[in-house]
């Protein structure tokens, strides 16, 4: 990688120019398709930008390939369910102790196994570890299964899960970051320090497993039944409350706006303000840390691991640190996304959309440049949405000369897959011709 990181001369108007183009595209969307659509794209684009900031910390600062952003995102999304949903009455008293005890047994068994492995020698070691793990597993299941049954039996049509703590949604955002950081620590601890692409494969695996857990553990998040009605974060109002408020309706009418349309736009604007605050805070933190000695050390490690190690830097420890921090940011974005959607739908997590598209955003925006991640996040999200819209039109025009029938129908039907092709080609083009991205690292 070091070969394409030489600091080159880039024009100082480059960044403002690209951001102006981005703003113009969003404005154009607003004037042509309405402000609801434009703000919708912008909000999701900004969320993608936060995910991209997290992935950029890993790939851009440290050259670590995280192929499991989806998993950390999904795990972060669990936080609003567990923190801000109202509690399910009876669930915690009924099944809580059993589940806690089961997890306690699991942790004790793993710790005991590790302790035995470290302190025993010879043949008994393997046998003892296996025995401890088997006994631990069956005790865990023996405690866990009845507790789950109790919880899932409570009002299964609407609840049947542990429920939340009923705390404000804003609290769940940092909790989402902590959850993702915990998972990242476990993965990083095992896979870092080995070959560079082992981390990619390990993260690919953990992502699949986290999503499988969210899909199947009904007691936790109702699995494929989805959790609906997750409360919004503090200052964001509900459309229906706005429409019922005489002041708001009067104000809208004074501006000549339909109150219903006005209320949806007001809600999106409120989310927008929250997201912008989070992004600015993250940018400030990351830029400060990059300018600090810590940031210089990270770049030194990325550009030449061997000489950094020779200078006494613990490369694996620093990699673990940045991997956990980046994953925490992805988890934060996951929690924010769930509170924007207001529901948790585990089946919607798709690795192409939530892992690999984010990588495209980072690389197109400019690896190692935080502003580049923001630009890449919004821009690529815009192209992704629009490629889905334009695909059928373009395909229809291309297929027009063909006679009606099987081939033409097939071409038009496959148009929505255009976005995959577009993303692949954009990624390959950028990697080949402009590996430093739209906004190169300074």
């Amino acid at each position: 990688m070091s070969s394409n990181r030489q600091a080159g001369e880039t024009s100082s108007i480059r960044a403002p120019l690209f951001f102006a183009i981005m703003a113009a595209l969003i404005l154009l969307e607003g004037f042509t398709s309405g402000w609801n659509s434009a703000l919708g794209i912008l909000n999701m684009g900004l969320l993608s930008a936060i995910m991209a900031l997290g992935v950029n910390m890993q790939w851009g600062y440290a050259g670590l390939f995280n192929a499991g952003a989806m998993g950390f995102l999904a795990l972060g999304g669990l936080a609003p369910v567990l923190i801000s949903m109202p509690p399910t009455s009876g669930a915690f008293s009924g099944g809580g102790p059993g589940i806690m005890a089961a997890f306690f047994v699991a942790i004790v068994a793993v710790l005991a196994a590790v302790w035995i492995w470290r302190n025993l020698r010879g043949k008994t070691r393997g046998l003892a570890v296996t025995a401890v793990l088997i006994v631990g597993f069956f005790t865990y299941r023996w405690l866990f299964d009845p507790a789950v049954e109790v919880i899932e039996a409570i009002n299964p049509s609407a609840q049947g899960n542990l429920g939340g703590l009923g705390l404000p949604t804003l609290i769940s955002w940092p909790v989402g970051a902590v959850l993702a950081a915990g998972a990242a620590w476990l993965v990083g601890k095992t896979a870092l320090g080995l070959r560079s692409d082992y981390l990619a494969i390990a993260t690919l695996g953990i992502a699949e497993i986290i999503v499988a857990i969210l899909k199947n553990e009904q007691w936790l998040d109702r699995g494929v039944l989805n959790v609906n009605g997750i409360p919004r974060p503090w200052p964001v109002p509900y459309e229906i409350d706005l429409q019922n408020s005489p002041d708001f309706v009067a104000q809208m009418q004074a501006w000549g706006l339909d109150p219903q349309l006005g209320s949806t736009i007001a809600v999106k604007l409120a989310f927008l303000v929250l997201f912008v605050i989070v992004i600015l805070a993250l940018i400030w933190l990351t830029e400060m840390s990059l300018k600090s000695p810590w940031g210089r050390m990270m770049r030194a490690i990325r550009d030449n691991e061997i000489s950094a190690a020779a200078m006494g830097k613990n490369v694996t420890r620093r990699h673990l640190q940045i991997f956990v921090l980046g994953s925490a940011v992805i988890g934060l974005a996951g929690a924010m996304m769930i509170s924007l959607d207001g529901q948790m739908t585990p089946t919607s997590y798709n690795p192409l959309r939530y892992t690999f598209l984010i990588l495209v955003m980072v690389i197109v925006g400019g690896s190692g440049n935080n502003w580049g991640s923001i630009l890449g996040g919004v821009l690529i999200w815009y192209v992704w949405v629009k490629a889905g819209d334009w695909g059928p039109d373009i395909m229809g025009a291309l297929a027009a000369p063909f006679p009606d029938g099987g081939l033409k129908d097939h071409l038009i039907q496959s148009a929505p897959h255009m976005r995959m092709l577009v993303m692949g080609i954009i990624l390959l083009m950028v990697l080949r011709f402009s590996p430093r991205g739209l906004l190169p690292e300074k």
């Binding site: 050259g63 390939f65 692409d197 699949e208 857990i213 690999f356 995959m420 092709l421 692949g424 990624l427």
Partner: protein
């Protein structure tokens, strides 16, 4: 008697399916491991290459069926397989020319190559979707069973049924032929030997006059063939769905790493380790348990892990290998 019934149940539900699945994983892992040892990166596009190859085979199968060509009791897809391999190999060579060649020339870091393969993955994914769509497709039109449950009962008089599907036999036989051909090629032919030399020590191989372009081209052709065969066998045995093939990437990588990445024998062993652990841990052992301990009436299914978590098995084995033996069971290479 009960012991024999228990054995039959284990064979029917664990050994036979796991052997077929293991053979499919082994072929997939061989492709990954070959790319790894010659081109030195983990190819994330391999799952989608399998999907693309299988998609082509399915289209040609449909063409044959429309023309009334069939392969007797065997699935028509086997007739279509050589054509599918040719198309996939051509696509691999084209991809190498357009995409990968440049990065070899500039000697890009392996992790950059992995990122490039993600781009290729997107494009292949789109091509497969254009070609055949995203739906689940069954394209097995051969005889369904070699032994069905009734024949088994008449033959042995046991009341525990055993079925052997023809796709399972086809999978194992095809895999054995493919692997034998591959090892013969790597071990006996001049090109195969130069590939192994290139894999062991690139500089020395170049110095002794081995043409790197030829080695790389042959590697891509073999990889395309292995991916198409693995994908078609998996599709015949279960069914074809593009997204499932993407998800196979994890057990395939796990197989290659468990066996020792870069080592062909290891890839095969790894495939079977992963498949037997996956099927064994997600199988409901209730039936076997009641045969062995007649007095015991288990209230659950005696299933260690729900089948929804089968990928967790590959992952756990992968993590254990990474912690305890990062070079894999058979010494692989670590760069």
């Amino acid at each position: 008697m009960e012991l024999i019934n228990a054995l039959v149940a284990v064979t029917n539900y664990v050994i036979i399916p796991a052997t077929a699945y293991g053979a499919q994983l082994a072929l997939g892992a061989l492709g990954v491991t070959l790319i790894y040892s010659i081109l030195r990166f983990s190819n994330f596009a391999h799952g989608d290459t399998m999907a693309f190859g299988t998609g082509v085979v399915i289209l040609i199968t449909w063409g044959f069926q429309a023309m009334g060509i069939s392969f007797g009791p065997l699935p028509t897809a086997l007739l279509a397989l050589p054509f599918g391999i040719a198309v996939t190999a051509a696509l691999m060579l084209g991809t190498d020319k357009v995409v990968y060649q440049y990065y070899r020339k500039v000697r890009a870091a392996p992790v950059v190559m992995v990122m490039v393969s993600v781009g290729v993955m997107f494009v292949m994914n789109a091509l497969t979707r254009f070609l055949i769509g995203v739906d689940q497709i069954n394209f097995d039109d051969g005889t369904r069973f070699v032994i069905n449950a009734r024949q088994w009962r008449d033959m042995t008089g046991l009341h525990e049924p055993l079925t052997l599907r023809s796709t399972q036999v086809i999978t194992v036989v095809t895999a054995i032929i493919t692997v034998a051909a591959l090892f013969w090629f790597l071990g006996k032919t001049r090109t195969g030997k130069s590939m192994r030399a290139f894999s062991d020590n690139e500089d020395l191989a170049l110095l002794s006059g081995i043409d790197p372009n030829k080695v790389v081209a042959v590697t891509w052709i073999i990889t395309g063939a292995l991916a198409t065969i693995a994908g078609t066998l998996y599709g015949l045995d279960k069914s074809f769905k593009a997204f499932t093939y993407f998800q196979l990437l994890l057990p395939i990588f796990a197989s290659a790493i468990v066996g020792g990445i870069g080592n062909p024998v290891g890839a095969i062993a790894g495939g079977f380790v992963i498949s037997f652990s996956e099927v064994g841990l997600t199988y409901a052992w209730k039936k076997v348990a009641t045969y062995l301990v007649p007095s015991w009436e288990p209230d659950g299914l005696v299933q260690l892990l729900s089948t929804d978590y089968k990928y967790a098995v590959s992952f756990t084995i992968l993590i254990l290998v990474l912690i305890f033996k990062p070079t894999g069971l058979f010494k692989g290479k670590i760069v």
